[in-house]
Symmetry: C2
Subunit: 363 residues, 2 copies
């Protein structure tokens, strides 16, 4: 059960031996210099076929594997990327992480993952730790992209970084992949207004989060174009609790003021919204039209299926990785915008008592 060390009789025992084989041992056994082994193993070109074969045979015999740690120290690059994520249990972020990891691995990079649990201080701490581990680059889905500490922390890291749907304004020279939340959000809002809704509500995430900010401004922009409609934004956590309590309080208002259409600002918020609606026996879409953000496996199977402002998180992950790789290969820090779309369904219908409507509804 102990490692090697006691066993000395006879020759090396080949593959199944537990102890790690060093490059020096390979060199000794092959009767060549350490550096020659290095050249063969690292795939250098100035190596004779004879040398190559001779070394590779011993490598196979001894089951030698390069020590990436030592290589990293010497080369000054770790072939490792750090991904700071709010919470990997968020299916959206998990999908992004999958896309990113897949692409990075193709390029030979490994991915360190750290969850910040919606705590900006942890975001900073993770960046610091990753820096000490000498990661070659960072993928950042930050809790608060306006945190000044973070900008300093990031600058110190002095490695390429890509912001994942976060505002790059405070981080000069840092790349970003951004969703065009505006287009999907505007289309959704306009669709609701066209159905005759004049009382809209967006139960939103926190203003620290770019997606929440963008969705709020999209709503407001559309409302400015439509004086016949009014809307309100309720900011809060990306949580079911925020969704539930906010929806409940909206329903508890005077009948006149109760919104006839609601947009849930995330999948967790949606869960809370639906709980509140069920408890109040509110029927979708008869009593209330509902739109949600981001696809969820079961939402298509609801009765009615839920209208969704959707995006492609896997693609976001891939593109994030791509932008990081470009920088790691010496390229500039580019930024990219990805589209969002609106998929209307029967969860949106004309309001029951259209207050002050202009156009007559069809069918």
């Amino acid at each position: 059960m102990r490692g090697g060390g006691a066993v000395r009789s006879g020759e090396a025992l080949a593959v199944s031996q537990a102890s790690r084989v060093s490059m020096q041992e390979v060199a000794d056994r092959a009767g060549v210099a350490l550096s020659s082994v290095s050249r063969v193993v690292s795939g250098h070109r100035d190596v004779s076929p004879v040398m190559r074969e001779r070394v590779l045979r011993v490598v196979a015999d001894l089951g030698y594997e390069p020590d990436i740690l030592a290589r990293s120290l010497r080369r000054g690059q770790t072939m490792t990327v750090g991904f700071v994520v709010g919470n990997i249990a968020n299916p959206l972020l998990a999908e992004i992480a999958l896309g990113a990891e897949t692409r990075l691995r193709e390029a030979g990079y490994a991915m360190l993952l750290a969850n910040s649990m919606d705590d900006p201080a942890l975001d900073s701490a993770h960046i610091r730790l990753f820096r000490q581990r000498r990661v070659d680059g960072l993928l950042l889905s930050l809790t608060d992209d306006r945190d000044p500490d973070l900008a300093a922390e990031l600058a110190r890291a002095n490695v390429p970084a890509v912001l994942v749907d976060r505002d790059a304004a405070r981080y000069p020279g840092v790349a970003a992949v951004l969703y065009d939340h505006a287009s999907g959000g505007e289309r959704a809002t306009e669709a609701l207004i066209e159905l005759g809704h004049t009382h809209l509500a967006l139960i939103n995430g926190p203003p620290a989060s770019r997606p929440a900010r963008e969705r709020a401004s999209a709503l407001r922009r559309v409302l400015r174009r439509h004086p016949e409609a009014a809307g309100l934004v309720r900011s809060g956590a990306f949580s079911a609790q925020h969704g539930e309590s906010t929806m409940a309080s909206l329903l508890a208002q005077d009948n006149e003021a109760v919104p006839t259409a609601v947009i849930a600002g995330s999948n967790q918020i949606l869960v809370g919204v639906l709980r509140a609606l069920r408890r109040a026996n509110v029927i979708i879409p008869k009593d209330l039209s509902v739109v949600t953000c981001d696809d969820q496996p079961l939402s298509e199977l609801f009765d009615p299926p839920l209208a969704t402002i959707s995006r492609q998180p896997h693609e976001l992950g891939e593109v994030s990785a791509e932008l990081l790789l470009e920088q790691l290969n010496g390229g500039p820090a580019r930024s990219v915008v990805l589209p969002t779309s609106f998929r209307p369904t029967e969860s949106c219908a004309p309001p029951r008592q259209p207050a002050r409507r202009r156009r007559g509804g069809g069918g």
Copy 2:
């Protein structure tokens, strides 16, 4: 934009300087030996207060940060754990990863994440890569826990490992955290039989996966105790496609043979099952009782809410990390079993035409 190197005039420029500060520089600046700085930074005890203060002041002035890479090479441990996961986009695995990462980080470990995309060859490849990166331990949620290549690969790694709800039979000395799928599965099956169902179906994952195997054997065990009931198991991928095509083919049978109750073996399979049911206009639970495995955010909000065989994935992640840490601290490889439970809901009801029933149904 270039790194440091040209700047030589005057003193070091303190914190905001981009270039990395080495321990040697700290030692020079403080006028002490390199080894003394190391002792202070590593928190050794045999250090005088004077020395400690003197060094820490320079550390702060220069913004020195230890290089974990170099430390790892010297100490022979990287404070890094590798997590091989089928697909982090699976919410169950994401929750597990979150629990594990949180616990590992508390203990000072970072987590490398690699997705195997249900490809056993990638599982092996990841283990090999993690080994070359000299991770201190492994967390493994394998595609196929009966793969012989993998056992060899794992043995070569020669580091502590914990199997995450995978069978440890082939991996001597490897710890495991296992769900007791049997108890939840048996309770669910028995509940269905008590409702009067005699035609059960389990649309299951692949036999390569322990959870799928355990659920199948739980079903069969219960059926053996209940000669009045029959059931069938349809193995396949953990995919919506498998769920949909299998459910559709079950519905297409002679009326007599169509199951009156179905258990979906995963959240993806559930999606497919529900699609098939919707297309066939099958009403739950009037035409068919439905049970699913693993909680999903929206399943409670279905009408009716879906009966669920559930487990605590976050806890699984924490316990996995805990078992790994025990080994990393020199302890033995323990294994732990966690419970599963069955939450019945109105998605389960007596069958419409109870073929050959004994007991009369209530209410």
